[in-house]
């Protein structure tokens, strides 16, 4: 592929990732910006890009779409403001919803983390914007595709929306706090899934490349399926500098 390379003694392809997916998480929503050599990629080449990459990637990783973006756009790292996860639970307390409500009712949840060998206390609560349980047979949270979770149809699923600043909370940290309450009835997770990464835009927060037919739901208006969905059209911008492609990749097993 006609990739653009960094200058210098050991040139590397110009690629930029969004917030890293924790090890052993699955994802259906990962983004990657790739720079190509000027004029190297025709619109036709862009169409075939997703398929070509999917063929080359390890089994379980699929590139769903590739679009051209403005090279002046904010980096993925700074543009992603919210991430959403779905966590199928193999065990859960009988009063799961009440436990979630108690979590949300707390003003602050101090959490001690070790960073670069130093202990530091952060607030977990402020990073958790939404936390709900659902099952596949009922109404689904926005942006959750039922087909992705068929394996866990019999299990309760947790849906959470987490902020990326000042620090991205991890779903497992939320589970740990929930489990502090009880020794017997604990939440044990199957594979955690990242289901969405949201940027802010004029119209609210949205996924840069939604998975289903360009329809998204706006989290601030309605978090649930069906209502509030809105058509979003992507503008093709002509770029005469290095073309920058955003790739939406579906990582079924992300390691």
């Amino acid at each position: 592929m006609p990739l653009a390379f960094t200058e210098g003694f050991s040139p590397r392809p110009k690629m930029h990732f969004g917030p890293a997916l924790p090890t052993c998480y699955a994802s259906t929503s990962e983004y990657l910006d790739v720079n190509f050599q000027e004029g190297a990629l025709t619109p036709c080449g862009l169409e075939g890009l997703a398929q070509t990459l999917t063929e080359m990637l390890p089994e379980g990783m699929e590139v769903l779409r590739a679009v051209e973006t403005d090279p002046r756009a904010r980096s993925l790292m700074s543009a992603v403001e919210l991430v959403e996860y779905v966590v199928p639970l193999r065990t859960a307390p009988s009063a799961l919803d009440a436990a979630l409500q108690r979590f949300l009712d707390r003003c602050a949840i101090p959490l001690t983390i070790t960073r670069k060998g130093r202990e530091k206390t952060v607030d977990l609560r402020s990073g958790v914007l939404a936390l709900r349980s659902f099952c596949l047979d009922g109404p689904l949270p926005a942006r959750v595709v039922a087909a992705d979770f068929q394996e866990w149809r019999e299990f309760p699923l947790l849906w959470m929306q987490l902020a990326t600043t000042p620090r991205t909370a991890r779903p497992t940290e939320v589970l740990d706090v929930l489990n502090e309450e009880s020794e017997r009835e604990v939440c044990e997770a199957w594979l955690c899934h990242r289901t969405a990464q949201l940027f802010s835009s004029e119209t609210g927060r949205e996924e840069p490349l939604p998975r289903r037919a360009n329809t998204i739901a706006l989290p601030d208006e309605d978090l649930w399926d069906g209502t509030g969905a809105k058509e979003v059209c992507y503008r093709e911008e002509f770029v005469d500098e290095n073309m920058k492609k955003s790739l939406l990749s579906k990582t079924v097993k992300g390691y």
Binding site: F9, S10, P11, T23, C24, M56, P58, E59, G60, W190, L191, V252, K253, Y255
Partner: protein, 663 residues
């Protein structure tokens, strides 16, 4: 990831992954992975590298057999690597077995478990893998329906320490013999009743396997010992077993162009590049070097095939670095035109070529510089010993001028870091020889300073372990204390210089020494080490000499006997019945020459010394050129500053018999 048969353990294993370090070790999913659907007519192989995935994945031998077997209509092969202790504990806690990374099937779903052993300290991991597989450790305790446990690799040219744990050992090049084993097992499987093999049928299979050249069935042999503990006889106890088991050799590597589609891992591994084999065998005659002795004669891959393998390998793998492997890559007779051709093939791309195992001379550095298109970080040379006298003893015939010219041209063209590899504890070594290491390092730094202020030199020393089938297998190894003193001497000598000293743990050298020349009695020791938690003994964080010494004591054995004892001319070695083609008489004479610092030149370009390999196996060195490659004293064939005291025999007529008379 959905596997096509219901025996896959994937979902259960996946659930363990968040709790273990480096989970990518266990998922497989490499580029060029072969997921062949097994059917009942196929013999199913699980090829196991008994170390971590990162170390095992690039192993060329395993990749060759993996692809070769899967190319056969009647074979199916998958791979497994030793799970790290955290994963092993997790598997045990959840009642899960050792599994393949290809389709995540349990080890016992396979007909054969094929282990490869590049080094002896991996032996306890054999037991770890067998136990995780749910199998009894000792071959005699396993059920007839259990998989057949097979092992091969350089370390098994003395297979006796693990003889009790394996059903069969394969000696030498694996390509042909593996297919013969496959065919034998296939026919045997076809003859079984649906209830599976009975004990007699398993024995019958082992007797059939014993008839394949290169296959050793330990259970068909017995050993007798003298009162002082020495082996007096190793003898077959079954008519199907030959008195001596000969290694297998591929006469022409052009016949086996594998691997065609190298595996590309999804996680970082060692040697993470395209590895292409240039040749097997080496006839430099370095006396310490087991690899050079047991892989004779030299067999070069045809240059057009090497070019093809590089072209195809790069395009199917996406790698941008190629490493040309052999025991001494600059000795490939057509190296210059070959490299020019490879460069031409890849002129458009950012491909970098490296030649590990560099010969020490300026010519070699010149060709390395031509092909290293990326930044030149470090270059490694292995003079092995500090003085010309000691290098004659070990027959590593590098003069100081060769080394200095090599280093000079390397610094000149932009390399800044030199790494010099040496051994300590070599036969006849004196304090002067050890000091010689420091002297060479200082001189190398001095040369470097002419070209760069940042010139550096790392001196890496390892304790010498005598290996089976070498002229040094009679020698008594240094104690860890003596090795430590020698390291201390080097530390003192190099203090205040810019040379950095690194060394291999002398305690590990001792344990390696116990196993390298060990006999069947060590089975109990290996088992006790494993039972005491001694896995991954190649890894500093898990190695413990105390575990080994305690186990030796508990079994009534002494490391002095195995490691320190200098053997006499008529010593019967535990591997007496295992043949790499080398005549014991040749090795003994070479050992005596060594003690006199007498040298042997490379038999590629001089008359035959009759080591036994070519004459016994009907083979010849297979080189592309009758002229030695250009270069320093090693390459040009310039007269060395000492006369060659070995008498030169005329090249013998090659006997076209494949097997020597047994006995």
């Amino acid at each position: 990831m959905t596997a096509s048969v219901n025996t896959t353990l994937w979902h259960k294993i996946e659930a363990l992954l968040p709790g273990v370090s480096r989970p990518a070790r266990y998922i497989g999913a490499e580029g060029n992975i072969i997921r062949k659907h097994p059917d009942p007519d196929m013999v199913r192989w699980l090829l196991i590298f008994p170390d971590t995935y990162e170390v095992g994945l690039p192993n060329l031998g395993l990749q060759i057999l993996y692809e070769l077997l899967n190319d056969q209509p009647c074979a199916q092969a998958e791979r497994a690597y030793a799970p790290w202790p955290d994963m092993a504990a997790s598997l045990r806690a959840h009642g899960l077995p050792l599994f393949s990374v290809d389709r995540h099937e349990p080890a016992t779903a396979f007909d054969l478990l094929g282990f490869t052993f590049p080094s002896e300290l991996l032996f306890p991991n054999l037991l770890e893998c067998l136990d995780l597989a749910g199998l009894a450790l000792r071959a005699t305790d396993r059920r007839p329906s259990d998989p057949i446990v097979l092992a091969g690799g350089h370390a098994l040219f003395n297979p006796e320490p693990i003889a009790a744990f394996v059903d069969a050992v394969v000696l030498g090049d694996g390509e042909e013999v593996t297919l013969e084993v496959n065919e034998t097992v296939r026919a045997w499987k076809g003859s079984l009743s649906p209830s599976g093999p009975q004990s007699e049928e398993k024995t019958a299979l082992l007797r059939l396997l014993a008839g394949i050249e290169g296959v050793y069935i330990p259970s068909l042999y017995d050993v007798s010992y003298a009162e002082d503990g020495r082996v007096t006889r190793v003898f077959p106890v079954d008519q199907a077993a030959p008195a001596r088991v000969e290694k297998r050799t591929i006469a022409d590597l052009g016949d086996v162009p594998y691997p065609r589609q190298p595996l590309v891992p999804v996680t970082e591994v060692v040697h993470d590049r395209l590895n292409v084999e240039l040749f097997r065998g080496c006839t430099r005659g370095c006396r310490f070097c087991q690899a050079g002795m047991i892989t004779r004669p030299v067999r070069e891959r045809p240059p057009e095939q090497v070019r093809q393998m590089i072209r195809d390998g790069l395009s199917t793998s996406g790698y941008e670095d190629v490493s040309l492997l052999s025991l001494s890559s600059a000795d490939y007779s057509d190296i210059d035109p070959l490299l020019a051709g490879v460069m031409e093939d890849n002129a458009q791309d950012k491909v970098s070529i490296s030649l590990p195992s560099l010969r020490v001379d300026a010519f070699t550095v010149g060709i390395a510089a031509k092909v290293a298109t990326v930044k030149k970080t470090g270059l490694t040379f292995a003079p092995e010993a500090g003085t010309w006298r000691l290098r004659r003893v070990i027959n590593k015939l590098i003069t100081e001028d060769d080394l200095f010219a090599a280093v000079e041209s390397a610094y000149q063209v932009g390399w800044k870091r030199m790494k010099l590899y040496f051994m300590i504890g070599l036969p006849t070594e004196t304090e002067e020889d050890v000091q010689g290491i420091a002297t060479l390092a200082k001189k190398v730094l001095e040369i470097g300073r002419k070209y760069s202020k940042g010139a550096s030199c790392t001196v890496s020393v390892g304790g010498f372990v005598p290996k089976a089938h070498t002229p040094f297998h009679w020698y008594g190894q240094d104690t860890p204390d003596v090795l430590r003193q020698k390291i201390d001497l080097l530390k003192t000598q190099l203090r205040g210089t810019k040379a950095k000293l690194s060394w291999h743990d002398p305690a590990a050298t001792e344990a390696e020494g116990i196993l390298s020349r060990g006999d069947r009695r060590l089975a109990d020791v290996i088992e006790q080490v494993w039972r005491s938690g001694g896995v991954f003994q190649e890894w500093g964080e898990y190695f413990s000499l105390d575990l080994w010494l305690e186990a030796m004591t508990a079994c009534g054995l002494h490391s002095e006997f195995y490691v320190r004892r200098e053997r006499g001319e008529h010593e019967v070695f535990p591997w007496e019945h295992i043949r790499a083609g080398l005549e014991q008489e040749f090795l003994w004479n070479d050992w005596q020459e060594a003690l006199q610092a007498g040298v042997v030149e490379d038999c590629r370009w001089t008359p035959c010394y009759d080591c036994g390999v070519c004459t016994d196996y009907g083979l010849e060195n297979m080189v592309g050129s009758l002229q030695p490659p250009a270069g320093g004293s090693q390459g040009t064939g310039q007269a060395l500053p000492v006369p060659t005291p070995v008498s030169l025999l005329p090249r013998p007529a090659v006997k076209k018999q494949v097997r020597t008379a047994a006995g």
